[in-house]
């Protein structure tokens, strides 16, 4: 008996020791942490900077690397940590980011689309007000006022835009167009449908569609709504002055339905680069996609002007449907000073000119060095200054995350149902708008 009791007590003692060991070691770690923080703070230069994006490959990653190089020259003592998570339009990254923000473990800066998508983070109290940085850097006058408006909530500016993409661009292959007898780019919807018929006559689908994941079809609807309703009524859809179930949207959906009927077979299997390839290889007529398509094709070795060319999407000439990537300063960032240094670089002329030519977008600043950009981007920079600006829904400007998810699903449902139920689509879109208000 004595022996077993002894064993038992010894066992308990061992456990107590273990527990004590654990707790003391964690205490030590904690004190160490606070110590380094204190010593780092007055020196101003943080040892590290963690940047969170979904730019993990292709031109996007190259653009980010350009920005990183620019940061390194200005801040040689800070180690750059790239926390990029791949996945188009941030599908995977946003989930990871959300859980980190919820756990109060934010990166030092993260990527967010300008507009309503940003709004969600602001309302959640997860972003710092950056108005001071705008004042300090004089950005109030250098970024377009319309753009700053979408970054502002209750008079405070919450992020720094690095680029502008255009969503409403029509792409085609000049050789295919010649074969079909097209002489000029269609500027109105009527001309557009007439051109689609011409492609049909030479035996190819007029419009390349990508149905996988639903968003590229929703992207097409987004353009069609602007083209049919005009910019004012389109914006009205998102502030409640235009009805989703009224005659205007009904007309737009009819046009949308008609455009889809010219689509390629098996579109549902395709991602947008696959659909783009149909156009550049002469197997389909037109492609309506954001201008990141151009960057992708150039990375594939195609030449702007000979292998593919562009025009503003029909019915939206003089309208610039835009989206913008921006960087933020999360509340509770561990290396706040480094984060601010990063934002300063992101908003600077040198930073934007390092980033954008590689990413295939135009700088958000109005004073960029145009000689660094290709012909498409040069033209886009001109039009950005003169065109009527409207935001993109699918890319987070006019709608928040909840609206976007429901909007894409509504279009996916319609498209997979054979593009027949216009009334159902209108009702689902109206519901998506309501979902965004919650």
């Amino acid at each position: 008996m004595r022996k077993s009791t002894y064993k038992f007590v010894a066992g308990l003692f061992a456990i107590a020791l273990l527990a004590a060991g654990c707790s003391s070691s964690s205490d030590e770690a904690a004190t160490e942490e606070t110590a380094t923080e204190e010593s780092a703070a007055p020196a101003a230069a943080d040892p590290e900077l963690e940047i969170f994006t979904w730019w993990a490959a292709g031109g996007e990653a190259l653009g980010l690397a350009g920005l990183e190089a620019e940061f390194a020259t200005n801040n040689p003592d800070t180690k750059y940590i790239n926390a990029a998570i791949s996945g188009g339009a941030g599908v995977n990254a946003k989930a990871v980011l959300q859980s980190r923000l919820d756990a109060n473990d934010p990166p030092d800066s993260f990527q967010a689309h300008a507009g309503m998508e940003l709004d969600g983070y602001v309302k959640g109290g997860q972003l710092e007000d950056l108005t001071f940085l705008y004042k300090e850097q004089g950005w109030d006058t250098i970024f377009p006022a319309d753009l700053i408006k979408t970054l502002t909530v209750d008079g405070k500016i919450y992020s720094v835009p690095v680029n502008i993409h255009r969503a409403n661009v029509l792409w085609w292959n000049p050789a295919t167009a010649e074969k079909a007898g097209l002489t000029a780019a269609p500027t109105t919807l009527d001309e557009f449908f007439a051109a689609l018929d011409k492609f049909k006559k030479i035996g190819i689908p007029g419009l390349a569609l990508a149905g996988k994941g639903d968003w590229a079809i929703a992207h097409l609807l987004d353009w069609m709504l602007v083209a049919t309703l005009g910019p004012d009524a389109f914006e009205g859809l998102f502030n409640g002055t235009t009805s989703w179930t009224g005659p205007e949207v009904e007309g737009a959906l009819k046009n949308f339905q008609k455009a889809l009927s010219y689509g390629n077979k098996g579109a549902g299997n395709l991602d947008w680069p696959d659909a783009g390839k149909l156009v550049t290889s002469g197997k389909a007529g037109f492609f309506i996609m954001g201008d990141w398509a151009s960057a992708q094709w150039q990375a594939d070795g195609l030449k702007l002007g000979t292998d593919y060319t562009w025009a503003p999407a029909p019915g939206t000439v003089g309208i610039y449907q835009w989206l913008s990537d921006s960087f933020t300063l999360p509340v509770g960032a561990k290396h706040r000073n480094a984060g601010i240094a990063w934002l300063t670089v992101s908003g600077s002329k040198a930073g934007q000119d390092a980033f954008n030519p590689k990413k295939g977008s135009i700088p958000a600043r109005t004073d960029a060095d145009t000689s660094l950009y290709d012909d498409y981007l040069k033209a886009a920079m001109e039009q950005w200054k003169t065109d009527r600006l409207v935001g993109s829904t699918v890319h987070g400007v006019t709608g928040n995350n909840a609206l976007m998810a429901a909007y894409n699903a509504a279009v996916g449902k319609y498209f997979s149902g054979g593009a027949k139920d216009n009334k159902g689509l209108a009702a689902d879109l109206a519901a998506a708008y309501e979902a965004g208000k919650a």
Binding site: M1, S4, T5, K7, F8, G11, I15, V91, K94, A95, Q98, L101, D102, G120, Y121, K123, G124, G125, Q126, G211, K212, G213, D214, K265, G266, G268, N269, N401, A402, M404, A405, A406, N408, A409, G412, K413, S416, G417, G418, A435, A438
Partner: protein, 302 residues
């Protein structure tokens, strides 16, 4: 006597101490998390900006009933589960029946059919995305092309892109993957039946088909039960296969995919957790009767 009791107690305590970490881990990371999920599902935390959620009872659950996207995902799941379970069970059973006779190279066939199980759902999804190409006739690829080549061109269809057939089409790769596993289970079931029973039946003059029908098949009932349970809960949880084949597209959404979208894309935590709890209950509906049955069997055998 006293010594013996204390010895028993001390071994009991020693053993208990060894399992304490795992009990604690399971209690926190499984049951604790379940409780937390249930708690969130009963609040109004419908967006990330709500910092102090209020208790709303079962409202999120009742909302799901009228949510057409949820009912669509649910319908897809039911269709998928039905074809997956029936197809996998039948395919696995037939293969087991063929191998049961002890043909040459049985070991080869067994592992041959089990290999699909070693492939990750994501890799498999990507390949089946190509195989289930929806183009027909001249543009056909994948299965549609194969069907044409063997003169079954009339069977070509748009697979997972058709509104009504999508969930059934997705069951094909799942059947392909799991059939080998079911084969192994049934084969083990056949092997577990003593040869004496067959001998006895033969002596009694039973024909070969009658031996199967009246002697062997009834003995496989527990195996069949196990197979159905395993397939049932695998099916309820299906997620990566769907994502691998068709992303988060509406047409092929099942409950788990919609849960992901609600939670992480829409950031509607209340809805996402409510869906998760519904899914958990569905799985419990299958698993709990099975566990009770297993425990009962074990007690009887003791």
């Amino acid at each position: 006597m006293a010594l013996q009791t204390s010895k028993r107690v001390s071994t009991w305590i020693g053993g208990f101490l060894f399992v304490v970490p795992s009990i604690a881990a399971v209690a926190i990371f499984v049951y604790g998390m379940i409780a937390w999920t249930v708690r969130i599902s009963m609040t109004d935390r419908i967006s990330a900006s709500i910092k102090e959620p209020k208790f709303v009872g079962l409202q999120n659950y009742t909302n799901l009933i009228s949510d057409t996207r949820f009912t669509h995902a649910f319908e897809n799941l039911i269709k998928f589960t039905f074809l997956f379970i029936v197809g996998t069970t039948i395919a696995g059973f037939i293969m087991a029946l063929l191998l049961e006779k002890g043909i040459k190279g049985e070991g080869f066939f067994r592992s041959f059919y089990l290999y699909p199980l070693a492939i990750s759902f994501i890799a498999m999804g990507t390949v089946w995305n190509w195989l289930l190409n929806s183009n027909v006739d001249a543009d056909a690829g994948g299965l549609n092309l194969l069907l044409q080549k063997v003169g079954l061109g009339f069977l070509q269809n748009s697979w997972y892109l058709s509104e009504n057939g999508a969930a059934y089409a997705l069951a094909l790769p799942a059947i392909w993957q799991m059939a080998g596993y079911v084969l192994a289970l049934f084969l083990a079931g056949f092997r577990g039946i003593p040869d004496d029973l067959r001998e006895a039946a033969r002596v009694d003059g039973a024909s070969e088909s009658k031996i199967y029908r009246y002697v062997l098949f009834p003995q496989l009932t527990p195996t069949l039960f196990t197979v159905l349970i395993i397939l049932g809960h695998v099916s309820m949880k299906v997620f990566d296969l769907i994502i691998g084949i068709n992303g988060k597209s509406y047409v092929t959404q099942v409950v788990a995919v919609y849960m992901w979208e609600s939670t992480f894309d829409q950031r509607n935590y209340a809805k996402g957790t409510a869906i998760a709890v519904v899914l958990l209950l569905l799985i419990a509906l299958i698993i709990i009767p099975y566990l009770r049955w297993v425990i009962k069997q074990e007690n009887e055998n003791r």
